[in-house]
Symmetry: C2
Subunit: 284 residues, 2 copies
């Protein structure tokens, strides 16, 4: 497995890679969710490239950039074991950004709601780093996780609107045995909070059961999920949403596809989760 | 010469093109300025691609999108005569943009002054279409004209900040025998206005002479150019600027490189021109 730390070093390698090239961008501290995306790329592509970069521009000044968990050596062992061909792991700090970086990709109508409401510069940071990485890695296939559903919609729009010649593949959310969506941020949880954290998944399952029993009123689904969350004293809901997958506007009635998503603080840790209705439908 | 009108058709062609591929994006109605850029690409590259597309997103609703001059047949003959290999000329109207296009490239600090001051959405339209075209054409070399100096700086920043693997080449401003910078918009001028229009170039030459005579006070250069323009009753200056090539901020003293630029209405036609100081220095 080749490990490169600079753009010129990666580019020198890129010319010799067999097509199609599959790409899994990550912020490292890998868990089985990331590795399942690597496996999806491995199935589809002659070459698999993964990147590890804690992208500073998608963190607000008040967020956890400094404390975000990192373990490059462990990440490299895990990727090697999955048969990844190349890892692009730029140095942090200045890293991938010019000192006076001043170019931003904005996707206004998909980024003002849900995650974007409390994190107003998050998605421009995501869209910008993904564009930079796409230009460096030049993948044929890019694999993202459905765990970050709004991000997946943003990337799909980015690829369409800017004519990237890249196939987007979404991997399903990997979960712990008790249903908690895997996330590098789960390491922040105390043992007690870790138990509480399953409430996000329990709320989604409640909505799924209600949907299967015929409930189509989005407000009712949303209210019941909110009530379940409110019953957990250690959890504080940030949003509970039943939204259109087209523009993320809140639905009144679930008569087509819907994205059910929620964000909650458990202790000080912010967690997100989501599912698509009808069950089994793909997000894109 | 291959002429393609859709992105899939161009992509089918692209795979077979010999590297390096040089690219000259245009809005058509070609003049010798465009053709000089084609010749620069021809000198440097095994394959030359030109695009012709009157990009709607760089025009404000009040501007001349509808009346912008077009003559595709003539353009194709001129490009063929210069040995261009492929022309990408997407249909207008919906053209290159999805119906609900909603992704924009913003380069805030380079686009608020000069042209950007009176055309606040112009450069996001330029940066966005150029990004789209770069993704479709996948050039190794892109050739732009120095006539649009601020645009050239924006493209240089775009390439650097988003890690495009593209060499940017700037061609010098092509001029009519009396000094008027070539522009597709010159066709709007009445014969009387056409004579008046040389005042932009005369103002630049005045500043150049003063610089050669030792004048380094930017405000004095700017004032003398403004006075020259004010003496032409048919011309109305929009801005006269002596600015840093780094961030386009106005200079007090010309002690390094400077971009001297101006915009003026002649009748109803808006014209621009520029030069770099010291004379002979390149903009980038």
């Amino acid at each position: 497995m080749d490990v490169t730390r600079t753009t010129p070093a990666f580019r020198a390698l890129r010319a010799g890679l067999k097509s199609p090239v599959g790409f899994v961008p990550t912020m490292g501290f890998l868990h089985d969710g990331h590795l399942s995306l690597v496996r999806l790329a491995r199935e589809r592509c002659a070459t698999v490239v993964a990147s590890i970069y804690v992208n500073p521009t998608q963190f607000a000044p008040t967020e956890d950039l400094a404390s975000y968990p990192r373990d490059l050596d462990r990440d490299l062992r895990l990727l090697d074991a999955e048969g990844v061909d190349c890892v692009f792991a730029p140095e942090e700090g200045a890293g991938l950004y010019a000192e006076e970086h001043n170019t931003w990709i904005e996707i206004p109508n998909l980024t003002s709601r849900l995650e974007g409401a409390s994190r107003p510069t998050h998605f421009r940071g995501v869209a910008t780093i993904v564009t930079k990485l796409f230009h460096i890695v030049e993948p044929d296939v890019a694999v993202f996780g459905q765990k970050d559903a709004q991000q997946a919609l943003v990337i799909a729009r980015l690829i369409r609107d800017l004519d990237f010649d890249i196939d987007l593949v979404l991997g399903p959310t990997a979960r712990e045995p008790d249903g908690l969506a895997m996330s590098s941020r789960n390491t922040y949880l105390t043992p007690q909070e870790r138990k509480t954290a399953t409430v996000l998944h329990r709320a989604l399952r409640l909505a799924e059961r209600m949907y299967r029993d015929g409930e189509r009123n989005a407000e009712v689904l949303q209210r019941e999920m909110t009530t379940l969350l409110a019953a957990e004293p250690k959890a504080r809901a940030e949003y509970v949403s039943v939204a259109s997958v087209e523009d993320l506007s809140e639905l009144e009635t679930v008569d087509g596809k819907a994205l059910v998503s929620l964000a909650a603080r458990v202790g000080t840790t912010r967690l997100i989760d989501n599912m698509v209705l009808p069950p089994g439908e793909s997000l894109l």
